[in-house]
Amino acid sequence: MGLDPADETEAALAPSDPRARLAALRVRLAPPDRGRDPSLVLPLGVPDLDAHLPGGGLVLGPPHEIAPAEPADAIAALGFALALCARHLARAPGEALIAAAPGQPLPYGHGLAGLGLDPGRLLLLEAGSDAEVFRALEAALHARALTALIGLLRDGLPLKPGRRLQLAAEGPAPPLLLILRPAPASLPNGAATRWRIASAPAARDRFGTLDRPRWRARLDRCRNGRGGDWLVEWDHAAHRLHLPEPLAGDAAAAGGSRA
């Protein structure tokens, strides 16, 4: 054939169609990222959001940092984290663990139903410090016994524990790992995504009463993805996030229009 032998192997490996070849080359060049396997991401159910995230959803395994936009939004951030947890629990069997540093608000069992989370699938650990939270999360990651892990921190996630968590999460079947920190405790770390959550007026149902909680979610940083800013609402029955429909009426406007 007289051609370069390297070219020959290349031709044998890839189809002749240039597009397919390009795709094959992309696969070869792509980093060994877990985000490719659809079973290893948690899609948020909103195409607009998922398009910003690598692999079409939150990558399972590495930590995702969630922070309130300001201290008063702490409960909104907790609600967002628990909503993601509920979504993951609805898609996968198993239980979730919340490891809380002292002084962090723990969820109220009867309030979890409002987010579609079964309290029976939730385990709590009251840790004595942030370091204990990290140790517990690391042990849970190594044990691979739980489906979702949430750490409530007092002082934020520093780089070193973040890296340790990331290492512990490597391997098959990683759980969803969410780190919730207070608003002022921003530290550089290796989180896969960093979210800022602020509360927003809730959606109203047709009687004008408070229905679905809404949050303003800002994706500050996303490894291999793009940031963004959305107003999302949580449907606790379907376990999915929505973008509010533009015509469904804003909270303030919906008040007396239909009832």
Partner: protein, 562 residues
Amino acid sequence: MTRLRRAGLAPERGPLAVAAEGSGGLRLVALDPEARALGLRVGEPLGRVRARIGVPLQVYPADPEADRDALLRLCRWASGYAPLVAPFGPGEAADGLYIDVAGASHLRGGEANLVADLAARLARSSVPAGIALADTPGGAFALARHGGGDRVVVPPGGAPEALRALPVDALRLDPGTVAGLKRLGLRRIGELDALPRGPLARRFGAALLLRLDQALARRPEPLAPLTEAAAYAAARGFLDPIGRQADIVRTARDLMAETAPRLERDGLGACALRLSLHRVDGALRVLDLGLSRPERCPERVAALVSLRLDRLGSALDAGFGFETVALAVTVTGPMPARQTDLGAASAGDGVGVLADALAQRLGRALLRLEPRASHLPERADRSRVWVAGEGQGEGSGPAGRGATASHGGGVLDPDASRPSPRPSPAREGGPGALLDQGRCSTPMGATSRTGMEGKARTRASPWPEDLPPRPLVIFPRGEAALDVLSTVPEGPPRRFRWRARIHRVTHAEGPERIAAEWWREPGADRDYYRIECEAGHRLWLYRDGPHAPDRPAAWYVHGLFA
């Protein structure tokens, strides 16, 4: 004395005495009946006795160690009658034992038969004994030694009558108190009991009344039962003391490997383990390990020991090393042989392993939220220590009755860890059931909510499903909202200050009236409102007590919605 005769060390006949070093030389500490017949008394100096009596007296040195061992042997033997056997404590003359036969006497055909059987078997073994059966240890003690018979059985409730005529010596008092009482002419327990208690306590101290009350069953008396020797235990001694953590862990693994076959043979697993480390200088370090499930895998036990030692760090002072390491299984649980899947362990196993690891490493238990039947929101849930094999995820949902199970180890009291709230829905209909006065004025999203819940939880859940919306986070007690401004006097606020911020209310739903639990403690009814304020924060507010025109309303923020 009996020990000497039974061991064949002393002749069967002839006056016999045991002497020990006392003040001013050897003194008699025990006498046999023949010696007592010669007029000898306990406590007399041996030299004077020798000079006084003309008969040859056999004297043996006292050996308290051997006496204690003999008593323990007797206790072990007596545990055939009932599991709870306690030797007499110090200050009760160390020569007897209590058997708690409550619930066990019918096995021998009633109390009288039990005592007869005990006496006959003791006599066959030539152990002279006085036996009394009474309601209290104190009463039995008094009757056995001063009751005037070898066998006394007091019917239930008869102790005070039976004890009335006994001398005060029977009350297990120190000799000084007895002498003092006798000087005052108080010789019988009945006389003592008839006196006013205050002066007695002032004159003789509280111990006298304590002993009196214990004998007359007015105050409980705990026994210190003989700890049962662990059925599954192993120990290893070292010529060269060990001090390194890796050595201790490996020894623990070897000891567990030694114990495991015996456990396996009996179909048992260890639920709690005790690792005793004997230091060269005599100090003893005890590590109690609790396990979430019965376990007999040496590697897993070794891992837990390693985690515990990690946590202790230098607090486990090895000093010059440990010369003996002993592992005892203190609690066992059934652990039938199971067919294991090749490869993957089941999820419940993993959580159990994790719970054990966290308990050893951090000393903290995994908790689970549990509903509690109460209308008050802050009492309506509580956290409880997670126990393996219970409420596996969705499904099941055994509404545990709050039997806080914990196995030794570093398990926390769940109730201490969290102020518990707990409400319960109108469907319980107890006193103080929800007064749904809000239902007609506000639909509470009832239609949409029931629809979703039906789908979300198809299986039985211990959590009430028809509760109006509850906040995601609740405060142990309401935080006062100040400067409340309402448009309607009895309506929800329009504006209020809370946590140093002014909140302007854009939406309010309610009220939902929750009555106080008057059978626990009095309190006012609360009218709860769901509030959304301008910034989008959703709060749960309540007014304490109904609206009254002459009184400013007290408002509290009780929880926060997501």
